[in-house]
Structure formats: C-alpha cells, structure tokens
Symmetry: C4
Subunit: 241 residues, 4 copies
Amino acid sequence: MTTLEQEAESLVHSSDPNHPANHICTLCAKFYTLGWVRFTKKGGSAGTGGGTSIRHEDKIYIAPSGVQKELMKPTDMFVMDFNTKEYLRKPQVLKPSACTPLFLAAFERGAGCCIHTHSQWAVLVTLLVERDFGLEACFEIEEIEQIKGIPKFRGGRENLGYYDRLQIPIIENTAHEEDLRESLEAAMEKYPNSYAILVRRHGIYVWGDNVHKAKTQCESIDYILQLAVEMKKLGLPWTKS
Amino acid sequence: MTTLEQEAESLVHSSDPNHPANHICTLCAKFYTLGWVRFTKKGGSAGTGGGTSIRHEDKIYIAPSGVQKELMKPTDMFVMDFNTKEYLRKPQVLKPSACTPLFLAAFERGAGCCIHTHSQWAVLVTLLVERDFGLEACFEIEEIEQIKGIPKFRGGRENLGYYDRLQIPIIENTAHEEDLRESLEAAMEKYPNSYAILVRRHGIYVWGDNVHKAKTQCESIDYILQLAVEMKKLGLPWTKS
Amino acid sequence: MTTLEQEAESLVHSSDPNHPANHICTLCAKFYTLGWVRFTKKGGSAGTGGGTSIRHEDKIYIAPSGVQKELMKPTDMFVMDFNTKEYLRKPQVLKPSACTPLFLAAFERGAGCCIHTHSQWAVLVTLLVERDFGLEACFEIEEIEQIKGIPKFRGGRENLGYYDRLQIPIIENTAHEEDLRESLEAAMEKYPNSYAILVRRHGIYVWGDNVHKAKTQCESIDYILQLAVEMKKLGLPWTKS
Amino acid sequence: MTTLEQEAESLVHSSDPNHPANHICTLCAKFYTLGWVRFTKKGGSAGTGGGTSIRHEDKIYIAPSGVQKELMKPTDMFVMDFNTKEYLRKPQVLKPSACTPLFLAAFERGAGCCIHTHSQWAVLVTLLVERDFGLEACFEIEEIEQIKGIPKFRGGRENLGYYDRLQIPIIENTAHEEDLRESLEAAMEKYPNSYAILVRRHGIYVWGDNVHKAKTQCESIDYILQLAVEMKKLGLPWTKS
C-alpha cells in the first residue's frame, strides 16, 4: 500500500461513533428500519435508493450506491475534498452515489449533512398536491405542533412557530437523478429558508446545519408527511383557509 | 467538584433499572420505537417533542429538551425539588423541558409519572372530534374492552367498566407549550377523574399514580385512539347513540 | 421454605427454553412487539389485556394479570393441576388471569395452548361483521391462500383447503371476562371444528393442539383479519357470493 | 454416521455468513420481521407460507416447510442436485417446501435465488387489478422512482428507467401450490423480462440473478406494491393514461 493509499484509508477508520464514516452507517441502518431507504442499485446513473452524506470541515463523506443500507460499512464510504471536488478515497468495487451533485448543492449553501429518502409519505404527498392544488403548488400545512421542529430561516437558530405555515417546494422528477440538480438549486433559491425539497413521484431531500439537525428535521418532516396522508384519507384539510 | 455538585451528580447515578433517572431513559427509548416521540428541539420555549417525568418522593426527574429520545442518558436528567420547585441538578449544556409546568400540574394532583407524546392517533382524533362534534366536544368512546385499562376515579383503585363511556377532554393548542398550563388545569378540574388530556393538533398528556400505571394507561389510550381513527376510516361510530 | 413451597418453585425453573414457564414469557414478549397485548391490569375481575396459557401433561401454566407482557418472568407464572383445578403455585403478589376459565374451556376440548389477544384487526372485524351482516353472523372469508394455515377439523391433521370457507364465530362481550365462558363454550359446540372465537369489541381467543400450532394459527388468523380490514377499506368483498 | 451422511451434513455447515445454508436463515428471519412470511405448515402439499431458495453452482438449497421462519437453522435445509434433481440432503423430520417445483422453474431460467412471500400488499394488488382491469390484466405502474430498482431485461445489467412501465403478470391461484408451475412457466415465457410473478389471492414470487439482487428486487417490488395500495385508498391512478 502506498502512502497515498494509507492516507485515504485513514480517512474512514475511527473508533469514534460520531466520526462521519461511522455515523453514516448508523444512520443508514436506522433509516432502513424506518422503511425510508429500500432500494439499492449498483451502477451509477440508473438511480440510487436514498442516501446520506456528511460534510466535516473540508471533507465530504458519501454513502455509495449499490450497497444494502442496513449492511453499510465505514470502508464503503467515498470521501471528497469539498474545495477541489476531487475524491480523496474511492472504494474500488463501488460506484459513487448518483445523489452526489444534489448533496453538493446543499453543502454549498451551508449544510453539514444531507439525507435523501424514498419515504412513501413523501411520494404520496407529491401526488396529492398535484391532484388537489396543481403542478406548480408546493406542500403547505399549518397549525400542527410538529411544525415547530423545522427551522424558520436557513442558517438561523429560530424554528417555525405553531401559527406559521410550513412550505416544502416540490420539483418534477427526471429520468436521471443527477439531472435534478438544476431544478433543485432553483427551488433552493426560490425558497431560501427551506431545509427540504420534495421530488414528485420520487422522495425527499432534507438537510441540516449538522448531522443532529438533519436527522431530527428529517424525522419531523416525515412525521408531518405521514400525518398529512392520513388527514387526506380522513377528509381533513391541511390548511385553515 | 464541590460537595454540592457531588450531591447533584449522585441524584442520577444508580445501578437500579427502576431508579427514576434510568427509568426515564428506558421509557423514552421505548416510546421512540413506538413513534410517539420524534421531534426534539434544543432551546426552551419553542417546543419539545414529547417527554417524560417521574416524581419520586419529594424529587421530580425530568427528561431534557433537545436530546434525541432514543439516546437519552441518566446524566441528561434535570432534577427538581417538588416543594421548592428549585432545580437540584441542571445539566449545563441542556435546556429544561418546556413541558415542566404541565408535568407539575399533574404532580400537584397526585401523579407519580407524566408522559407527553405527539402520537399521530392523538392528533387525528382531535381533528376528527372538532369536525364531527364541534370545538367544545371531548373525545368519547364506549363498549371497547380496552377501556377497562383506564381508571374510573382519580386516585382510586377501580377501573372503567366495559359499559362505561371513556371521556378524554381536548384543550386548544397555544403558540408556546408552557401557555397550555391554564387550560390544562381547567380541564383537570372540569374532568376530575380523567388521567389524560388531548391537545388539539399537538398530542396528549397522560399521567398515572406511578410509573407502571402511567405507562400502561398511556399504552391503553394510544391503542384506543388508533382504533378510533381506524373506525372512522371504515365509517364505524365511536358511541352507540 | 417448606418442601411444598420448594416443589411449587421447581415447577417454573428450567433451563429449557421450551419449558412452559419460559415459553410463555417468550411468546408474551413477541406478542407485545406485534401489538397484540398492550393492556395489563392488576386486580382480577376487571379485565386483563390478552394472555397465554400452556397445558403440559396434567399441569396448566398461566401468565398472570397485571404484569407488563414484555417483562414477564417464569416466576410470575401460575400453575394449576388440570384434574383438580387447584393451584399448585400462586405467586403471592400477583392475581390470576381473568381468562383462566376460558383457557380451561379450550383445554377441556384437547387444546395444548391458548392465546388471547386484543388485536385491533380482530376488534374491527367484529364491528364490520355486525354492520354488514348482522349480530348473528360469524366472520367468513374464502379463497385466500393463508386460509390453508388453519386446521379443517379439531384434533385432525388436515388443514382447510384454498376453496374452503374459513368461519370464525363471534360472541358478544360481557362486562366481566369470566362471564364469557358460557357463550364461548356454546360457540365451541356450535362450531366444533373452529380453533378460534372472536369476541365483539374485545379481541380473539385462538388455541391449538400444542404451542407451535397455537402460535402459527394465531399468526395466520391475525394475517387474515388484517387483510380483511384492508379489503373493506378498499371496497373488496370477503366472499365470492 | 456413514461417509454419505457425513458428506450430506457438510453441505450445510459453514462459518461463512454468505454460505447458502446460513444466508437463507438470515433472509427468512428478516422477512418474518417484515411480515412477509407468517404461516408455516408441516405436511407437504397443503401449502407453505413463503420461502426462500438459493442456487449455488450445481446445488440448490431450499428452506423446509413447517419450520417457524424466524427460528430457521442451517441444519433444517434441504439440498438438491440441480442436474439430477435428486436430494443430496433431506432433514429426516422435515418436509420439503411445496414451492420447490416453482423455484426450479426460476433456476432453469438462470435465477440464483428465488423468494416467495405472502405479502399483504401483493394479495391486495391482485384483487384491485381484477376488480378495476379484469382477470386477464397484469399489474402496471409507471413514473415511480423505485421502478428503477427492477431489471429491464432478464439476465441483462440494465434496469427499468423512470419513464418505463413496470409490468408484473398475475396468475390464478390453484388448490395445491405445486400446481402453479404450469401457469407460472407460461407467464415466465409470455413476460420474458419479468423477474416477478404475482399469484392472485396468494402472494408473489420474486427472483434474481443472485441472492443480493433477489433480495433488493423483492424489497423494491414490495415497496411499489404497498405504494400502489395506498394510492388506491387515496383515489390516485397507477398509470398516466
């Protein structure tokens, strides 16, 4: 093993459970149990089934595509230099996640962790919004306590209040995951305070200032999306007006 | 460490799994698995996502806000003197739960343990009651075996019978959790035998004479609320008349 | 400890996981996880929340009421002599299950294990049958592969075929669980090949020739009841005619 | 033990978790937890409740019928010679799976692993297709991201694209599982690129070129079937036209 290879290896070996390479594995296993990430496909552009990425200082740790999420190992991780966008570590038999350009879009706006899931509640909400409010509409809900788990301003410390309306933009899906980047970035600009973007018939991207925030925001939003689907089954409206 | 600090520390260190500081951690992990507590927010008044508190003799143990419920540790606990309402122990980097005044309202009426959840069944039931019976109505159901898991009189040993009607009052949500106290106490007075109060669009508070009773009452009520939602999906009425 | 007490104790101590006292604990924990048994109430006649009993030769092992099902210990077991119906072992601080007379009714008809659950699917099916087919009707379903998991004749080795119709009788609930015995036995006589009886607004009793059969029959029936509820939500009929 | 018996035993003893005999046990336990396999029946032709089989070189490993799926042990496995179709190993007290001829039909078309489940979503989808599109129709869905988890051509490396329509044929159930073989093979010929076949009122067969692919394809398809059922509950169509 060359010195360069040894350096690359050392990036993913740590006994600290909060080291990014370990943390991603724990999160993926937890998300698998929650049914958020099911589908993995070896082979790059054809699609990946959810994923997680962490930015730690100037390094980005990315779960590969093609690995069963509940069996992910730290040595499966790709590591990228945030400044040069070059890979510092590439597991030989694995393919990088097709979500990588989308994760980068979040990191360039200050995110410390980005989570992509195929949550069924997310998919169903995008279909319900299209049917009931039209293709241009975003998902809107108000006066649900759990809304208070979502930040009010990107980068700020304040969360939404109970009487605030939560808005999550929806972008149209594309044939190839990496082609989502343009519309994802457009939505990030149009909704400068949003920490989440739904993808029609596909799933959701949620990010946060750090791993802890990304995880709890993802949980709060999934709770709200599930509640929203159940409300529709019972004929209950999402907003007051 | 000063003697005072050592005393404060000793309050939460015990090898007994039934010690309140340990018990709260076990309960929170279990509730997380059940999906009752998802959202945690660091920062006091903006809200917390469910919580648990135990009164043991003249001490009150309270889970903090801002800690992931499945990762709670005994050393995360706040401990308050029940008589003076002063904190005997405050973890430095954590914020006390915004539910604290609401837990106190239950303890002052004899409770030994109080549980607050954001159960989706609870939220949906409050919305269904409002739509079908009006803002002033409380949740009512009868002739369901599980009702027999709920006490008939506060402080008594008798439970509801199969032919009794279970009533759970509903209070309106407020922007700030601590502002619920007034209406919560009013509902406690109006329904002197209730061990649970629903909060519209928010969740539920359930308490019991001790930890065991609070947990099993919380489980029985959540079972009933879930059943009630499924009944509405199937067009089945909650009461006979 | 007297010799008699030592003998009583030895009834529930075994390192064999298939010993009835151990087996009941494993089953109860599994059923708790499945949400079949939630509610426990200390105090005899007021009700119990599901339970399990095993007959082994001339001894009957019965889970107590009032113990959290996921925390059941072998030393919590009641042991009864099947012939004399006298308790060989009674844990001092616990109450025997109110289901005991109902379990006995199954054992007297050859059962080796009897399981009682408050499965929500069971409760909902009893309500749907009453609404759609009337109070006297039993639950009927046909042409579902899982039906083949249920025996065709009590005590026989043959199971129902795919084209056979599964019938599960429904009895009316009573204020006190032990008062179910008369109608339970009447249903056992009227449906001499049934291994399960639904109790309206309450749950289900399932038994089997041995522990293994009782467990798999209970799982098959719960699968069918859940499917039946989902079919009603989607407007699909249970039978062809 | 004779030399022949020793050879038979050595077929199922390995410390490698990816050895087929171990792998089947891990998969069955996982599928039990997901609720895909519930019902087991000792006794051959009457039916089995889901199962798994792996082909490794010229040997086929088959989970027995009649064993609780979550408790399967490597020594419970049947091993068959793929060329001669003779058993190399038969556990004495167990019955071979009634799915065996159906698994063979997949292996003869290149499969490396075949999974049969009684998933409720599969059963409900077959009923919904019959009601809404007629007995001859197959299940069709399009523009759902998860479709990209399913191969486009049998034996190829390309997966379905987002704009491709997923088709899963449905065959009619028969009284005896082994009698499904003829129509299963007819469907395999009619849909030469399908890796899955639904069985009306029964469940689904999913296979893959190897264990990893069979498992992830089974997970992707179950995700899609669950989503399809939820879409029907909400009145959402499966296809655009």
